[in-house]
């Protein structure tokens, strides 16, 4: 075909020809009333069809580039899953440490490639198992850890010099202690901190806005403890990710996809500013900032979200912080499939839901993946549901072929357009957070809480009106259904913890303990890095409750403005 005929008789360029053809196609649809606008869950408009016209302004090298190269939209690493598959990292934690240790070993034996350990409510809030306010929650939602002795048992026989461990420590107030315990245990086992691979969650929003309890640390102090851990790791544990900004949990609390990414980036920006202020070079700590995102129902929006997050992070680190290390510029993230999207009704349907969520995560280039168990709307996963979730993860990895090529949806007119639109929305919200005075201030004033609250309420109303269909809940319901499975029973935990804690308290050197606790309180007040102090303190047998009481004595407490 000659150049002239391809360009059209009237001399128009190819794009104009496509435009004319598209308009004709669209008018035909409109005549039959089949052209309508819809929107993603976060409110980004969606047309019934995308064409080259929508992506015409994309400059491939500037806007997309190659995997592992700027601006990292197509993936954090050059060979993506061909070079290294995502980490199969199934969350586990319940009861006393010996029970969770058995679950970790089962998951590893069955092919999990990383550990993802969650702690019970008292541990995360900084209470000992025996504290009167804690007793009813001991062993629930995670594993109970009171002292270093529990951490030893939790990882007994697990090759932590080889396997990477994610510690779901959530709150900075408990993270400083738990991370110190994990590190101290590694040192006792002869593993230098330089060799340890893993992640601590350690997000101050968790403590102050997302999973609040009364008397959390005030936001500015919780934020400072988060930064203490990052600073410590930059100096002593360079392969450890000392923070995982928990967009997943923001999402579970009610955020939409845009808010999820804007909030993690704003949080990471705040941390980076603080660490630079403390005198660290950006490329010293930024390569170890990591992220934790959700995979919710809106399949393509989720995929576009991950891609947009990578482009935004690259630009923020490069333009705002003048980072140069590729590690600082690449947005690395773990994904958990959305717990809030699961239903207690017809719970086996959750296997299908979680599989779609997981597929979105890897089409979006996740580095690590947890697939939810089907019973999570009802209880802690049983051995059977945990194994089904692990197998779902492995089926995706081994059977579907999604690992063959990097960013397989790159170039899709729809996904590229959605990536651009989400990027715009996220950047706009980032600016709004700046106007609110930055992330720490936005938490202090309750702006974050109000924003999440409004989105969660609107979502709930949309589910109740039927605007958002949820199978088994507001459509295709079955009355009087029998539960098709056994529910998990949390094993007896309090008496086990009580006995062990009594023994630790009996055998420890009280003078050394008091000295360690004064050092904690002093460091909390003076601004000295708390991790430096706690690495020593935890070996003296101090408890997580003692540490958090000492920190709160020094720094005070705060109640989140929720309603």
């Amino acid at each position: 075909m000659s150049e002239k005929s391809r360009s059209g008789e009237d001399g128009h360029n190819p794009r104009e020809i496509i435009r004319q053809a598209f308009e004709e196609w669209r008018r035909a649809l409109e005549r039959e009333d089949l052209w309508s606008e819809d929107s993603t869950r976060s409110g980004v408009p969606v047309k019934p069809l995308y064409t080259p016209l929508d992506t015409a302004s994309l400059d491939y090298l500037r806007d997309l580039g190659f995997p592992g190269s700027e601006p990292y939209v197509r993936g954090a690493y050059s060979s993506m899953y061909r070079g290294r598959s995502w980490t199969v990292r199934q969350l586990a934690g319940f009861g006393p440490p010996e029970e969770t240790n058995r679950r970790y070993k089962l998951l590893l034996k069955e092919g999990a490639t990383g550990i993802n350990g969650v702690f019970d409510y008292p541990t995360l809030r900084g209470y000992d198992s025996t504290d009167p306010v804690a007793r009813a929650d001991v062993g629930r939602g995670g594993v109970a850890v009171d002292t270093l002795e529990d951490m030893r048992i939790l990882f007994d026989g697990i090759p932590i010099h080889e396997v990477s461990t994610s510690l779901v420590t959530c709150n900075p107030v408990s993270n400083v202690t738990l991370q110190s315990m994990y590190f101290a245990n590694a040192l006792e086992r002869g593993i230098p901190l330089e060799k340890l691979r893993g992640t601590s969650q350690n997000d101050f929003l968790m403590e102050t806005a997302i999973t609040t309890a009364p008397e959390s640390l005030p936001p500015a102090h919780s934020f400072r403890l988060c930064c203490d851990a990052i600073e410590f790791c930059a100096r002593r544990a360079p392969r450890w990710n000392p923070v995982s900004f928990t967009g997943y949990n923001y999402r579970e609390a009610g955020c939409n996809a845009v808010q999820e990414v804007a909030f993690v980036v704003a949080n990471a920006v705040a941390c980076s500013e603080e660490l630079v202020r403390r005198g660290l070079e950006v490329d010293r700590f930024a390569p170890r900032l990591s992220f934790f995102l959700s995979a919710h129902n809106d399949f393509f929006e989720e995929i576009a979200k991950y891609r947009a997050a990578r482009r935004i992070w690259h630009r923020v680190m490069k333009e705002r912080f003048a980072a140069r290390d590729p590690g600082s510029l690449r947005f690395r993230f773990h994904v958990q499939t959305a717990g809030a999207a699961l239903t207690a009704q017809q719970p086996l349907n959750n296997i299908a839901r979680a599989a779609y969520h997981a597929m979105a995560a890897v089409l979006g280039g996740a580095q690590s993946l947890h697939v939810d168990a089907y019973d999570e709307a009802l209880c802690t996963p049983t051995e059977q549901s945990a194994l089904t979730a692990l197998r779902t993860n492995q089926i995706l990895l081994l059977e579907t072929g999604v690992t063959r090529t990097a960013d397989p949806l790159g170039g899709s007119y729809y996904v590229e357009t959605l990536t651009n639109r989400l990027e715009e929305e996220i950047l706009e919200l980032l600016e709004e957070i700046e106007n609110q005075g930055g992330m720490v201030r936005a938490v202090e004033t309750g702006w974050i809480h109000r924003t999440i609250n409004e989105t969660a309420y609107a979502y709930q109303q949309a589910v109740e009106s039927g605007e958002i269909p949820v199978v088994g809940l507001n459509c295709h319901r079955m009355e009087e259904e029998e539960l098709p499975m056994d529910l998990f029973q949390v094993p007896e935990t309090l008496s086990v913890q009580e006995k062990r804690l009594r023994k630790v308290l009996r055998e420890r050197d009280e003078a050394q303990v008091q000295k360690a606790l004064s050092a904690v309180e002093h460091a909390a007040t003076s601004g000295e890095n708390l991790m430096d102090v706690l690495m020593e303190g935890v070996t003296r047998g101090i408890t997580i409750g003692e540490v958090s009481r000492a920190i709160k004595r020094a720094l005070g407490t705060w109640n989140a403005p929720l309603l």
């Binding site: 999973t211 309890a213 009802l378 309420y457 309603l563």
Partner: protein, 133 residues
């Protein structure tokens, strides 16, 4: 003269998920009730607050599994302080087999995962037909 239905909303133990309890609190408030949100409190303090606030309803929330131990303690504390006639309701991750035992312990109604807010509003309104919403 009638007054608005008064509700004290609390979360049990150290469970820290606020989404459910806040959604319910907002729905009840939007339905014209007075809602006092106290966050996490121990059972005895929840009962004490309910009495001080002269609450008609005590709404409890928990996703951690601590409900079998803590929810009945709220009922007992209310009874021992002469407030046993107040309606105690519970929402959250409550496995269906727990429901009959909770009702036996004096919890008026249990709202599991996925319950529409509208159903909770209707239930509470129906408990107090003399009160305007």
């Amino acid at each position: 003269m009638t007054r608005k239905i008064r509700v004290v909303m609390a979360r049990l133990g150290l469970d820290s998920h606020w989404r459910g309890s806040i959604m319910v609190a907002r729905a009840l408030r939007d339905a014209g009730m007075e809602v006092i949100y106290v966050g996490n409190q121990d059972p005895e303090t929840i009962a004490e607050t309910a009495l001080q606030e002269d609450a008609d309803v005590v709404g409890l929330s928990s996703l951690s599994g601590n409900h079998m131990e803590l929810a009945p303690r709220v009922v007992n504390a209310l009874r021992s302080k002469g407030g046993g006639h107040r309606t105690v309701i519970l929402g959250g991750t409550v496995p269906p087999p727990d429901v009959p035992r909770l009702k036996e312990a004096g919890i008026a109604e249990v709202f599991g995962p996925g319950t529409p807010l509208e159903r909770i509003v209707r239930y509470v309104s129906a408990c107090f037909p003399q009160n305007p919403r």
